[in-house]
Amino acid sequence: MNSKPEFPPPVGGLLEDRMWRSVSLRAMELPYCPDCSRAVYPPAPCCPHCLRFELPWRALSGRGRILSWTRFHRTYLPAYPAPYTVIAVALDEGAVMISNLSGTEPAPGAWIGHRVRMCYEPAGGRLLPRFVLDDRDSAPA
């Protein structure tokens, strides 16, 4: 019997599956609208701003800043025993992505606006895009 707690699976779908394949290659891609200069997340069939179809997929720069955070003090998911932290990241490509912060945490009060960069960590039998603090540019945006 597998004693590891079941990892919450990602939502699947035609576009999600393509996104997760790129994550497995450590180069996360999203549909990107060249007219609006924005990545579309979650991936969608057309740009929600200009409704252009056939969006090219582009690898993310992996850079962004923390828009908000929360620390769970209660366990909801067996794979995530409390305490643990979730962050919302405003990607430089314009989309917002929910993820986790790995490694060093910012000082209290210095989370929001802190620059971060994407990393890939094994979790539940797949790679998961997470973030670490980007100290090359720590000035809050």
Binding site: V11, L67, S68, Y84
Partner: protein, 387 residues
């Protein structure tokens, strides 16, 4: 003279405090259909109507439409299913378009005894809102966590502190203490609030609604019929809705604009239709699964400026004796989590001057609002003018 859109002529509710105690002792007396049926009988009695007078039915989100009608023995000429906010708007639309004359709105929920989960592997609502399930691989689950993210962003933006937020829960518990039918009535202080454990930081136990069983029903009809029927009908004078759907799954509307744009537009539409302003509102009624809803509503619906909710809570006040009596039954935090339906019952009682020790003296206008997942609804209710 502004027009009355439709009127509430009957209210009904179950004894959710008794069921709360019974369930804690292991006794489950009703399922969700039982609660719905009890509430409807109570609303018909309140309205002085019989079942045969009902020709339209809207059921809440926690019972199936056909089964609810089957249990109630209701064959109607118009029917639908909706959440509390949309249900009242649909009832108005049905009555004004002639699809129905008198609509029963019926809600029953056994979420406590049925062990409904609002976070975790079996989280509710994912079929409606992708954001409720999309971020689970990163451990983000539960609506409370979404509001915790909102709260931290708002605090950063406005300077609100945790102790400021605590005033919402303390004020609503103060109202519940004056409401003999509320479930959680023991007074709490700001010290009690700050001593409680975090669930999702910065939100603590008292920032969360309870999860309990119960039922609510309303009877809505045209203003003409209402004045013939009811001694004290409550009139629906204005409404508005505005949705923020762009980037909803990634939570951007919650974290950057705090739903303000949706709330402002919905609020302005409802005030204009009713011909009143914020100054005319005697009772404010906010869908409050979490205390943050109230903070955002005070700003979004124009009771204070952006970033000023903390000061409003401290200096004006929303509790007993405060400038803007808000969620006067105790709301979802202290009275009962009826997903907005119970808020209507409290508004009607206040406008009928039937709210007992918590009555807001001479209440003439109530303002109900909700902002569930960026779908902002604003409804102005008014008491019957006395001759």
């Amino acid at each position: 003279m502004t027009e009355v859109q439709a009127s509430i002529v009957g209210i009904g509710k179950t004894d959710w405090s008794a069921d709360w105690r019974a369930i804690r002792e292991g006794q489950i007396r009703f399922d969700q259909y039982g609660y719905a049926a009890q509430a409807l009988l109570s609303a018909l009695d309140d309205a002085g109507l019989r079942r045969g007078d009902i020709d339209g039915l809207i059921v809440g989100q926690s019972t199936a439409y056909e089964r609810t009608a089957e249990v109630l023995g209701l064959d109607v000429r118009w029917g639908d299913q909706a959440d509390a906010s949309t249900a009242l708007l649909k009832a108005v639309a049905a009555i004004q378009s002639g699809m129905a004359n008198t609509v029963a709105l019926v809600y029953g929920n056994n979420q406590r005894s049925g062990k409904v989960q609002y976070g975790g592997p079996q989280a509710m609502g994912g079929d409606l809102f992708l954001s409720y399930v999309y971020h689970a691989p990163w451990g983000l689950t539960s609506q409370g966590a979404l509001y915790a993210l909102t709260a931290n962003a708002y605090m950063h933006d406005s300077g609100m502190r945790e102790a400021d937020l605590g005033r919402v829960a303390v004020a609503q518990r103060g109202w519940a203490g004056l409401n003999p039918e509320a479930i959680l009535r023991k007074p709490i202080t700001l010290e009690d609030y700050l001593a409680a454990d975090y669930i999702c930081e910065p939100l603590r136990l008292y920032d969360y609604c309870m999860v309990n069983d119960g039922g609510v029903a309303l009877i809505v009809t045209s203003a003409d019929r209402a004045t013939r029927l009811a001694a004290r009908p409550v009139h629906i004078k204005g409404y508005g809705r505005h949705d923020l759907n762009r980037d909803a799954t990634s939570l951007a509307p919650r974290l950057t604009g705090f739903y303000r744009d949706a709330q402002r537009r919905a609020g302005e539409a409802s005030f204009a239709m009713a011909g009143v302003s914020q100054r005319d509102i005697d009772v404010f009624s906010v869908y409050d699964s979490f205390s943050m809803h109230v903070v955002l509503a005070l700003e979004g619906y124009g009771y204070c400026g952006h970033g000023e909710a903390a000061r409003f809570l401290a200096e004006q006040g929303i509790g007993p004796g405060g400038r803007l009596p808000t969620n006067t039954s105790g709301g979802h935090l202290s009275d009962s989590y009826m997903q907005g339906w119970g808020h209507y019952v409290e508004c009607v009682r206040q406008l009928r001057q039937q709210a007992g020790a918590r009555q807001v003296a001479g209440a003439r206008h109530a303002h109900y609002t909700s902002d569930i997942a960026g779908k902002a609804v604003s409804i102005i209710l008014a008491a019957q003018e006395t001759e």
